[in-house]
């Protein structure tokens, strides 16, 4: 781990303390987990504290962990993951916040801290159904007008539920159930830890 990353780790520990529920330093990046209750507070500290100074929010996205390692996931299902960047100190941190309720995921909006997050939160709401209380304009963004469901959830099929076609009799575009046969050419495989090791025979 580089000296810079170590310094960032120390500063995070110093200013956030036990509000960091879990932290991981791997592949030259630091990821911290926080609870929704501390979330706004932590984010404000991350931006305003001179020793951290994350002026920019680069990205925020939803993640659905329900089928992680083929369903072997202990913990909450939905998370919002943000990538923060400090232009002053030239470092990054990844903040992950798991929503407390799997059936009605809700994470406070940080739009008042970083205005750039507006569309990212709308997207996470649209695709994952994560609600961001405090967002002034939480509408669907990417999906069709009148779309039903949250397409990036793992239980939403890749082909969707409805398809659109032009109906010559009614002389307009109609929706109908999909007629595509689902198929998977390369199956998804998670190998066990020691797969292929010569020592294990």
């Amino acid at each position: 781990m580089s000296a810079k990353l170590e310094l960032l780790g120390q500063n995070l520990q110093k200013h956030l303390g036990d509000r960091i529920r879990a932290s991981e330093a791997a592949l030259g990046e630091i990821t911290i987990d926080v609870t929704p209750a501390d979330y706004l507070d932590v984010m404000k500290t991350l931006r305003d504290e001179p020793e951290l100074r994350f002026e920019q929010l680069m990205d925020l996205c939803g993640v659905d962990y329900s089928t992680y390692r083929n369903g072997n996931w202990q913990g909450r299902r939905f998370a919002a993951v943000s990538q923060l960047l400090s232009v002053t100190h030239n470092w990054r941190v990844c903040v992950r916040c798991f929503a407390a309720d799997d059936d009605f995921p809700s994470i406070p909006s940080v739009v008042s801290i970083w205005n750039s997050v507006g569309w990212f939160e709308r997207e996470a709401f649209d695709l994952y159904g994560i609600v961001f209380p405090g967002h002034p304009d939480l509408r669907r963004l990417l999906t069709d007008y009148g779309f039903v469901g949250h397409p990036f959830r793992k239980d939403f099929p890749i082909y969707g539920y409805v398809e659109m076609r032009y109906d010559p009799d009614e002389q307009r575009v109609v929706y109908q159930p999909v007629t595509i046969e689902p198929r998977e050419i390369t199956p998804r495989i998670v190998r066990e830890e020691s797969y292929g090791d010569v020592e294990n025979g």
């Binding site: 592949l27 993951v81 990538q83 990417l142 998977e184 190998r191």
Partner: protein, 417 residues
């Protein structure tokens, strides 16, 4: 006096100045914009969800189709994310090739931008000049990958193959013949590097030509100066990156600040704007083309004298050479496993960002150890810039909206994903 109320105007999605499929609902007070509400998603193909159902390598061509004006840069960020997760090194020659093509891509992108922006604002001729130069660079894409646009040339662990020894030539036709044809093919008689060398020696002069057309042009300045001013503080707050951030006076460039590949060995400067208006962003982009040209030249000189492998020899990641595959059982098995199952990427998450022509292009990848990504998030610069459009256009005339859409450098492939 009659009471005039605000009215709303629908702009797009088939408006020629909307750069694709942008639909905007503009709230107007007379001719002044009070609110702009972009409706996006008309080109949404769910690339991120699709990637979850494909093996890691199968998604490389999808990356080309994100920002279809800077194809190889998208691939670069994606391949870098996989390489970080795998913890593998890219051969130095492949790194130089990647940097060279990244900069070619930057010139390609900015050329299209300058042409389209010119068209938006009324400088029709720019498009013709820009397309002329793009042709040469797209030919380089073709020579190296076989495709003029969607190259799929970068692979996890390096690039698909080494630079070719010959360039495609013009064939004789009704319009191209005799001395003209000979002149056209003159630069193409050597290798790809010879052709590029010829291009980089010509290009600064051509840029001067563009500048004589635009930089001091009265109409150009009337349309751009003091339009869409963004202060440095707002630019940071709104998540601006790339030329949009530098146009506002913040010297932030990932190639300098967080160098990847061989950018730390190359000599180039970062242009910065002063006022943060559309005109400054224009100047920044033009200067970036000059700097890219310098980088390409340095890469050519290095690549000429340093042969070597261009893709990793880790056969769990990249296919072995065809000849060895035919004569060696082990290599054959590797090839078979790679083609049927794909590689397995160790569990973990990574965010890899590159300095894309439009700003910071990031890939956030989560792997659970499978042969497919668990979650892939594409952070596209245009998406963030477009979300700031409402703030930028406030208080401007409706004609300036077109200028603003142009200065953001919008490509819908990356915004809708």
């Amino acid at each position: 006096m009659a009471d005039i109320q605000n009215y709303t105007l629908n702009f797009g999605p088939q408006h020629p100045a909307a750069h694709g499929v942008l639909r905007m609902v503009l709230e107007l007070d007379g001719e002044v914009v009070t609110r702009a509400d972009p409706h996006i998603g008309m080109l949404h193909r769910a690339t991120e969800k699709l990637a979850e159902t494909r093996t890691w390598v199968q998604s490389v061509p999808y990356m080309d189709r994100l920002d279809y004006m800077s194809m190889m840069c998208n691939e670069h960020a994606y391949c870098m994310a996989i390489e970080k997760l795998l913890g593998i090194e890219v051969p130095i020659r492949a790194q130089y090739i990647r940097v060279m093509f990244d900069e070619i891509t930057r010139i390609l992108n900015h050329l299209l931008w300058i042409g389209a922006h010119g068209l938006d604002v009324g400088a029709m001729t720019m498009m013709l000049y820009a397309m002329r130069e793009r042709e040469d660079l797209v030919d380089c894409y073709e020579a190296v990958s076989g495709a003029r646009w969607h190259a799929a040339y970068y692979r996890p662990g390096g690039v698909y193959r080494d630079l070719p020894d010959s360039m495609p030539k013009y064939k004789e036709s009704k319009w191209k013949k005799g001395a003209d044809l000979k002149k056209l093919n003159e630069a193409r008689s050597g290798t790809l590097l010879d052709f590029l060398d010829d291009f980089v020696s010509r290009f600064p002069k051509l840029l001067d030509e563009y500048e004589t057309l635009l930089t001091d042009n009265r109409i150009w300045k009337q349309r751009l100066v003091n339009v869409g001013v963004v202060s440095p503080e707002r630019a940071l707050q709104l998540g601006f990156t790339g030329p949009m951030l530098r146009g506002s006076g913040i010297a932030w460039d990932l190639r300098k600040k967080q160098p990847y590949e061989v950018y730390d060995r190359l000599d180039f400067d970062i242009p910065v704007g002063v006022t943060g208006d559309c005109y400054d962003r224009y100047l920044v982009r033009v200067e970036e083309m000059r700097q890219s040209n310098r980088i390409v030249k340095q890469c050519i000189d290095w690549l000429r004298v340093n042969p070597g492998p261009v893709i990793t020899d880790n056969y769990k990641v990249a296919s072995p050479p065809r000849a060895r595959m035919k004569s060696n059982m082990e290599e054959l098995i590797h090839h078979f496993k790679l083609c049927t199952e794909g590689m397995h990427v160790p569990e973990g998450q990574v965010y890899s960002a590159i300095e894309h022509p439009k700003g910071e292009f990031g890939i956030y990848a989560v792997s659970d150890g499978a042969n497919k990504p668990y979650r892939l998030k594409i952070r596209s610069p245009g998406y963030v810039h477009l979300s700031a459009l409402s703030e930028m256009t406030q208080g401007h005339m409706i004609a300036d909206v077109v200028t603003m859409v142009g200065t953001i450098d919008i490509v819908f492939g990356e915004i809708d994903r």
